[in-house]
């Protein structure tokens, strides 16, 4: 089922996420981050850990939206941007929100501009993200 371009503007909200140390520990090891001296704890989360607490839950909603008909297995990640309004800390709680900001079909490929933000309980966005997803659509 081809993506319906009229669905541009669709929004998603994921349950509140915690910027937590256990997941960060796995993430930091996977990306080869310097663990620091033995027995010490990293003071702040790595910037691209936002891929885990912000982007991942929203991408699951996006590609799980049957009305969109997107297939995660045919996704190519084109571009990524994260903007941080303040330094995040472990224990921070954010509510991920996402929106299909634009979509364009070119040469059999669908280009999706997906914007995300992680809002604090006061409503301010502490982190924002922009992803360009390129999806090979099924015939």
């Amino acid at each position: 089922m081809p993506f319906n371009l009229e669905l541009v503007g669709r929004r998603y909200e994921a349950p509140e996420e915690v910027v937590d140390r256990p997941r960060h520990q796995l993430y930091a090891a996977a990306v080869g981050a310097d663990p620091g001296p033995p027995g010490t704890l990293r003071e702040r989360p790595l910037a691209c850990f936002a891929a885990v607490y912000l982007l991942r839950p929203l991408v699951e909603l996006l590609f799980g939206d049957r009305e969109l008909g997107l297939d995660l297995a045919h996704l190519l990640h084109g571009e990524q941007e994260f903007c941080f309004r303040r330094a995040l800390a472990f224990g921070d709680r954010l509510r991920p929100e996402g929106e299909i900001a634009a979509a364009e079909r070119r040469r059999g490929l669908l280009f999706l501009d997906f914007r995300c933000r992680g809002r604090e309980r006061g409503g301010e966005a502490a982190v924002e993200a922009r992803s360009l997803f390129v999806v090979r659509e099924q015939a």
């Binding site: 997941r23 796995l26 993430y27 930091a28 090891a29 996977a30 990306v31 080869g32 981050a33 310097d34 702040r44 790595l46 910037a47 691209c48 891929a51 885990v52 982007l55 991942r56 991408v59 699951e60 995660l72 297995a73 045919h74 996704l75 190519l76 990640h77 084109g78 571009e79 990524q80 941007e81 994260f82 903007c83 941080f84 303040r86 330094a87």
Partner: protein
Amino acid sequence: MSRGGLPGPGPLAELRLRLSQERIAAYADASGDHNPIHLDPEFARRAGLPSTIAHGLLTLGVVCALAEGALPDGVRVARVACRFSAPVASGEELCCRAEVTESEEELARVRLSAATAAGQAALSRGAMELRPL
């Protein structure tokens, strides 16, 4: 070092790292992204690839972690951005670099790059912006 405590222009960090299938699997577990194009060689071949490929966000995460590990205290990352310009096959070695290109009192810009041993850029327009904490 600039007046705001931000690093001054010049090389920040460099690293060669092999993106082994074990590392790709570890990233899939850590990130929750189990797209079979990263994990299943047969699926990857059916998708027209010679092998499984690394997550783009793994490549970006490696370069960013490299840069962040070289930052002085009192500095925060304000922005990270890149274009994923070519897939990185499982087992390929990446040469990752971070270089401060501009530094002022309140803002420093870092160029991020990652290329395969054959010189193919995996990231383009890699950028990080730093601000005082």
